[in-house]
């Protein structure tokens, strides 16, 4: 009876990316006391190697897709896509972190270990096909993120950010867990496909009210993680207080993973009650876009501005979710990839410019960057144009697909309001462009340091990614389109 439950080697291999990252991260904990302070860059190098290895493994194991560990994990195209995205986000976070940690004189071992652990959690999330697994992945990712947000212990802002993130985050995961418990109680299973069958089976009675309540509770937990309104309230404080590379990481990695499970849960298990939750996602999407964009208009702190922008972008992806279709899923996948590139790139420039102790974080501090460091300014321009959604960038196609998917699903008003929103959004990104190119250099730009190789890579790679997604979107979109089917 138990023979079928013993994991086969094929199943172990499907878990390879997570294994690689876990082993390396654990090794860091052991190495930390052994290696001296002079070898502080070693961890970064190893992180990148481990992440590259994990990414290769993630791609490799897709050759033999399937379930693993009695249906706990599902290695399919969707999971592979998001595995690559979160691992890629990891690489792009490590690159600017070298310089950042040097500058702030912070310890490197634990930082990288926590980063890798967080990515392991996200990988587990995106491959999980089962609510318990999803919850554990979510917690691993979150707890590591809480600590990363407060990694600079002597920085009060970072402390406060970490504490807020921790308390509110735990609060939100509790909602999620409550939803899981209700689902298990109602259907006797935590497997998404089984839950779906139970709901469809009709044995829940004519009015499965508690399925709705469970969906709402999970919506709260996931809405918090993706910083969608009305659960966005933590994001500006946390992004502002957290170390900039960590803020970049939070805005891309955990968010992508959270969207992945959002899509998987709501389009697999809760797909039968779609008409019930669609209005909620609709309202949340609109509220996120509007609130994020309009609040960003008046921000003067660049990290806070990007936080509001990230709320607005979460709104766009929620539009894709509201479409409840394979096209919508594919659009959300594409958007998260494009968003990861452009947002991490923008944060990397912020990190580079802000100087020791993150002194220069005002929008005005970008004054004259175009004259002082034209290369950096040009790359930031690419990211900002992509965030605006100008053609030939990934951001443009992301929005294009999302609104196309929404129209396919007859969400006409949401599309109209969303497009209006993206017209408004141009303004605050434009302010940064104006500062860079149309002002005399200020203190921040005058004191800017030359780019280190790590930073250069951290800027050029996302810029290339943004452009490739904008000029040859077909490569990624084909894959996303093929992998967006949950229920066959």
């Amino acid at each position: 009876m138990y023979a079928s439950l013993v994991p086969t080697s094929a199943e172990m291999i499907r878990f390879l990316p997570e294994l690689i990252l876990t082993v390396v991260a654990t090794l860091f904990m052991v190495l930390d006391p052994l290696l001296g302070r002079q070898s502080r860059h070693v961890y970064g190098h190893f992180s990148i190697l481990a992440l590259l290895g994990a990414m290769a493994a993630a791609v490799y194991v897709y050759r033999d897709p399937g379930a693993a560990f009695s249906g706990m994990l599902m290695v399919d195209g969707f999971a592979t896509f998001f595995r690559v995205v979160v691992i890629g986000v990891g690489i792009l976070t490590v690159l600017p972190s070298y310089r950042y940690l040097d500058r702030e004189d912070a310890e490197t071992g634990e930082y990288h270990a926590l980063l890798l652990f967080s990515i392991v959690g996200q990988c587990v999330m995106v491959t999980a096909n089962e609510l318990i697994m999803i919850f554990i992945g979510l917690e691993i990712s979150s707890i590591a993120s809480y600590v990363l947000a407060g990694y600079l212990r002597d920085d009060r802002r970072a402390n406060e950010a970490a504490l807020k993130y921790f308390l509110l985050g735990s609060f939100a995961t509790a909602f999620f867990l409550y939803g899981v418990a209700l689902i298990y109680g109602m259907t006797g299973s935590t497997n998404l496909a089984t839950v779906r069958r139970a709901i469809l089976g009709g044995s829940l009675g004519s009015a499965p009210i508690f399925i709705g309540v469970a969906a709402a509770l999970m919506f709260v937990g996931l809405g918090f993680k993706v910083s969608g309104a009305p659960f966005q309230i933590w994001a500006p404080d946390v992004y502002q207080g957290a170390p900039t590379p960590v803020a970049a990481f939070l805005s891309a990695g955990p968010k992508a993973a959270a969207f992945a499970i959002f899509l998987r849960i709501f389009l697999t298990a809760f797909q039968p009650i779609g008409p019930g939750w669609e209005p909620l996602v609709w309202v949340s999407a609109l509220a996120s876009m509007t609130l994020g964009n309009f609040a960003a208009l008046t921000q003067s702190n660049i990290k806070r501005l990007l936080a509001y922008s990230s709320i607005a972008h979460a709104g766009y992806v929620l539009v894709a979710l509201a479409a409840r279709s394979n096209v919508g899923t594919a659009a959300a996948m594409f958007y998260m990839a494009a968003y990861a590139f452009m947002n991490i790139g923008a944060f990397a420039v912020v990190s580079h410019l802000s100087g020791k102790g993150e002194r220069y974080l005002k929008v005005e501090d970008f004054a004259g960057l175009g004259a002082k460091q034209p290369g950096t300014a040009a790359l930031l321009s690419i990211f900002l144009l992509s965030l605006i959604g100008v053609p030939l960038t990934g951001g443009f196609f992301g929005k294009f697909y999302i609104f196309k998917a929404a129209l396919d699903s007859h969400l006409v008003w949401l599309t109209v309001l969303g497009l209006l929103n993206s017209a408004v959004a141009a303004y605050y990104y434009l302010r940064i462009l104006v500062m860079m190119y149309m002002r005399e250099p200020g203190e921040a730009a005058s004191r800017i340091q030359p780019l280190t190789p790590g930073l250069r890579a951290a800027l050029v790679l996302p810029a290339l990614g943004t452009l490739v997604l904008g000029i040859f979107p077909g490569w990624v979109l084909d894959f996303a389109g093929r992998s967006s089917v949950f229920v066959r």
Binding site: Y2, E139, V147
Partner: protein, 170 residues
């Protein structure tokens, strides 16, 4: 059957009363002790559902472990200052509205009757002759093996995280 009902209301009263007292006491130590009371009530409810394992875990882990830690921390930290500050913040009206809404919702379900609480068929456990504890162990070490193992990673991250955060402070 009557005995069950009486016990249920007893434990439920314990849970609710303990909870209310926990949040209304000014003295943190008192609050913690009332929380223990509330958790004990929950344990009693588990027992009524013949979930012996959960009952034991509830007592050992929450009442025995976590709450004792709570009390330690509370006694170590000087809380005179906190006791003087306002106990309820400005949002109490919103909180009240929330509580009211949840209450209304529950009454609505009750009024709608059993249909609202229907479970999927096949959820009720077949009588396999195994006790609650055995069944749990069976599930944990077969079907749910991976989550069980991965949870250790979660604990590791939590330990590392708390060490990182606290390293220079203590």
């Amino acid at each position: 059957m009557l005995m069950d009902t009486i016990l249920f209301y007893l434990f439920a009263a314990l849970v609710l009363g303990g909870g209310i007292l926990t949040i209304t006491r000014r003295n943190a130590v008192h609050s913690a002790i009332f929380l223990i009371l509330s958790l004990l009530g929950v344990a009693g409810l588990y027992l009524l559902q013949s979930a012996e394992f959960l009952f034991a875990v509830q007592i050992v882990l929450y009442v025995g472990g976590i709450m004792v830690l709570f009390l330690f921390v509370i006694m170590l930290v000087n809380l005179d200052q906190a006791a003087k500050e306002k106990q309820f913040n400005r949002q109490w009206t919103v909180a009240l509205a929330c509580a009211g809404l949840v209450g209304a919702e529950i009454f609505y379900f009750l009024a709608k009757g059993a249909g609202a609480f229907q479970l999927a068929k096949g959820t009720a456990e077949a009588n396999t002759g195994m006790g609650n504890t055995e069944r749990l162990a069976d599930a944990l070490f077969s079907q749910y093996l991976l989550p069980f193992e991965i949870a250790s990673l979660l604990l590791l991250v939590a330990v590392v995280g708390s060490v990182v955060m606290a390293k220079k402070r203590i």
